[in-house]
């Protein structure tokens, strides 16, 4: 809910005469978090990598595959290191994220991670020996439940969206949080539809579009999530900036 204050001084946007603290905080934190375009970049990399490893016919695909790898690897680092940060600085400015002071829960979590790492280091092999068949059996049951004995359906993206959606639910949600919730709901429906299509129409698994969406689902998810964050920033922060020596 906008804060009920009126501007006493003239601004460049006379229509913006209310301070919305929640919107200000949300956009500030969004810019301070890892950039949406970086997530798009990572998603593109994952998508290309996953799709390339599908069972494509040889011949015309091999040079195309090589070209795809060349483009992805050739642009990934420059984009991550230079192009994206420069674009963000120019378009949005910059924010340094707030450093949260360490709480006892943070310390406990870090300790638990350290212990888990040490346990894996020394006991990784026996753990894998025992847990491997258990995990494989669990996944096997899961795939049997959705009539996918050959484990062709990629459940990862659907699980990711369900987790993100459920994790975003709150009792009292502000408008910006509600918008994100609707987006996550749409993503959840979209990606579970890919799974549902294969369950209800098993022949769909032979179609190339389904194979691409199924294999590249995780990459596409990251692309969608990154684009959403980027678009929120674009809509929240005007492009035009007054000229001056502070640019």
């Amino acid at each position: 809910m906008p804060f009920p204050l009126t501007l006493e001084q003239k601004t460049d946007s006379p229509a913006d005469r209310e301070v919305d603290p929640e919107r200000l905080k949300y956009v500030t934190r969004l810019l301070g978090s890892p950039s949406g375009l970086n997530m798009v970049l990572l998603g593109t990399f994952l998508f290309v990598a996953d799709v390339i490893f599908l069972d494509w016919p040889s011949g015309w695909w091999t040079p195309l595959e090589a070209l795809a790898w060349l483009v992805v690897l050739g642009t990934f680092l420059p984009a991550y290191e230079r192009w994206i940060p420069e674009h963000y600085q120019q378009r949005f400015g910059s924010v340094q994220a707030a450093r949260k002071p360490w709480s006892k829960w943070d310390a406990l979590f870090f300790l638990a991670l350290l212990l888990a790492f040490l346990a894996l280091l020394f006991l990784g092999q026996p753990i894998a020996h025992h847990l491997g068949p258990v995990a494989s059996s669990f996944l096997g049951h899961l795939h049997m439940m959705i009539s996918d004995p050959s484990r062709q359906i990629n459940l990862g993206p659907s699980v990711l969206w369900v987790v993100l959606f459920c994790g975003s639910l709150r009792w009292h949600m502000r408008s910006v949080e509600l918008q994100r919730l609707y987006f996550l709901l749409a993503g959840m429906i979209g990606f579970t539809s890919i799974v549902s299509l294969a369950i209800w129409h098993p022949d769909a698994k032979q179609l190339a579009p389904w194979k691409i969406l199924n294999a590249g689902g995780l990459g596409l998810s990251f692309i969608a999530l990154g684009l959403y964050d980027y678009i929120i920033l674009v809509r929240s922060l005007p492009k035009k900036v007054a000229e001056g020596d502070d640019e």
Partner: protein, 125 residues
């Protein structure tokens, strides 16, 4: 009612101004922000933003740092310790005011009709 008006707390006038409140709210959500971002998110003109930042710096609420990056001046602003505590006090004051207003609304008789066409059911402030 008069007694309640007497005990209504007053918000910090320096912070209460919308442009300055917007700047401080943004800075409370990050370690620091540069001038470009502050201008875009508050939609203030360059001159207006400079004036507000100067006022806040003179009041000791923000710290302004300037550095040269790629032959351009980059201004970075952060909240000072005093700014953090005064902003927190400001929000507490506003919460108290909202609570008092909510109490006042609750104590009004339900289904109250206007006694005279010229009178509003809301008390004049």
């Amino acid at each position: 009612m008069n007694d309640q008006h007497n005990i209504v707390p007053s918000p910090n006038r320096l912070i209460h101004e919308p442009a300055r409140l917007a700047i401080l709210t943004v800075l409370s959500s990050c370690a620091s922000a540069d001038f470009v971002f502050l201008q875009k998110i508050t939609r203030l003109s360059k001159g207006n933003l400079s004036v507000q930042l100067t006022n806040l710096e003179q009041a000791g609420l923000v710290i302004i740092q300037k550095e040269i990056v790629d032959k351009k001046t980059r201004t970075t602003v952060s909240l000072s310790k005093r700014g953090i505590s005064e902003l927190a006090d400001y929000w507490k004051t506003m919460d108290q005011i909202r609570a008092l207003m909510a109490q006042e609304r609750k104590h009004r008789a339900p289904g109250r009709t206007v006694a005279h066409p010229g009178l509003s059911p809301e008390p004049a402030i």
